[in-house]
């Protein structure tokens, strides 16, 4: 009887670990714009089984694309040999993405809100990415550690579809 109880407990723990692993995924991509399509597929694939509304899925994919584009272009200055590390997590209805690079520190807080009138006159094609990220995510944080890792943390409470 004790053995059965022990086995059941073990099975429960294994299940918990399995679910935990299922709800977080990490992948490293080379710092190349041609990988953006693969990055979007990676995010889409992670979110696919989570029953999240299409609108939120689209917003999350856009935010991660923009964050990775910034890292490729600004942190790594288009050096294609470098790595961008993406970690995705979902606990209950909160989605979290942590995207890291080891390039030049870049503080998006210093990026001004785009002024369309001015950009129109100046024919400015860039500077919209961070603004878009902030528009579609609930929380955007930055973390720079001593190992030279620059991390952007994106959080969003997601709407779940009714099953």
């Amino acid at each position: 009887m004790n053995f059965i109880r022990l086995m059941m407990k073990l099975f429960k723990i294994l299940n918990l670990v399995r679910n935990k692993l299922k709800d977080s995924r990490t992948k490293t991509f080379k710092s190349q714009t041609k990988n953006l399509i693969l990055i979007r597929e990676f995010v889409k694939d992670f979110l696919a089984s989570k029953n999240i509304s299409n609108e939120d899925v689209n917003k999350i994919i856009l935010a991660i694309d923009e964050a990775c584009t910034n890292k490729i272009k600004h942190a790594y200055n288009c050096d294609e040999t470098k790595d961008v590390i993406i970690k995705l997590k979902l606990s209950e209805n909160e989605f979290v993405a942590e995207i890291s690079d080891f390039g030049l520190p870049f503080n998006p807080e210093e990026v001004p809100i785009p002024d369309l009138k001015e950009n129109y006159a100046q024919k400015k094609s860039g500077g919209y990415g961070i603004y878009l990220i902030k528009k579609v995510m609930d929380e955007v944080k930055y973390d720079f550690n001593q190992d030279g890792e620059n991390k952007i943390i994106l959080k969003k409470k997601v709407k779940l579809n009714n099953v």
């Binding site: 714009t33 399509i37 979007r40 584009t69 094609s125 860039g126 603004y131 878009l132």
Partner: protein, 118 residues
């Protein structure tokens, strides 16, 4: 992987650019080159058809912003047509509807260009 394609056609003095696939920081230079070629040849009346575009990021939006002032100064415009809701939402987030005109079909955009000539 054929992730982004542009096809072009003309109607009288109008240029219609049809976008297909995914427009991001990797594929945006292709669109930039296409519009730049038109503008350099003074072909400044441009309609962009989005019916087969599946995705756009800010790199794609930025291309239109880079040329709009120039084409309008030269008497033309960039008008958008056949955009689905998902793509329109990204344009809307940046506030582009204040700057650009959106039409349901190419025909409506053509009619608008024609009515401006009168």
């Amino acid at each position: 992987m054929n992730e982004f394609n542009i096809s072009k056609k003309t109607f009288e003095d109008l240029n219609i650019i049809e976008l297909k696939g995914y427009l991001d920081a990797h594929t945006a230079p292709k669109l930039e080159e296409t519009i730049s070629n038109l503008v350099n040849h003074n072909q400044c009346k441009i309609i962009v058809n989005f019916s087969e575009l599946n995705y756009i990021s800010s790199a794609g939006l930025g291309v239109f912003m880079a040329f709009i002032e120039t084409v309008r100064t030269k008497g033309g415009d960039i008008k958008f047509s056949s955009m689905n809701e998902k793509i329109y939402k990204v344009f809307d987030l940046i506030g582009f509807p204040k700057i650009y005109e959106f039409y349901k079909t190419d025909d409506e955009a053509i009619q608008n260009f024609k009515s401006c000539e009168k």
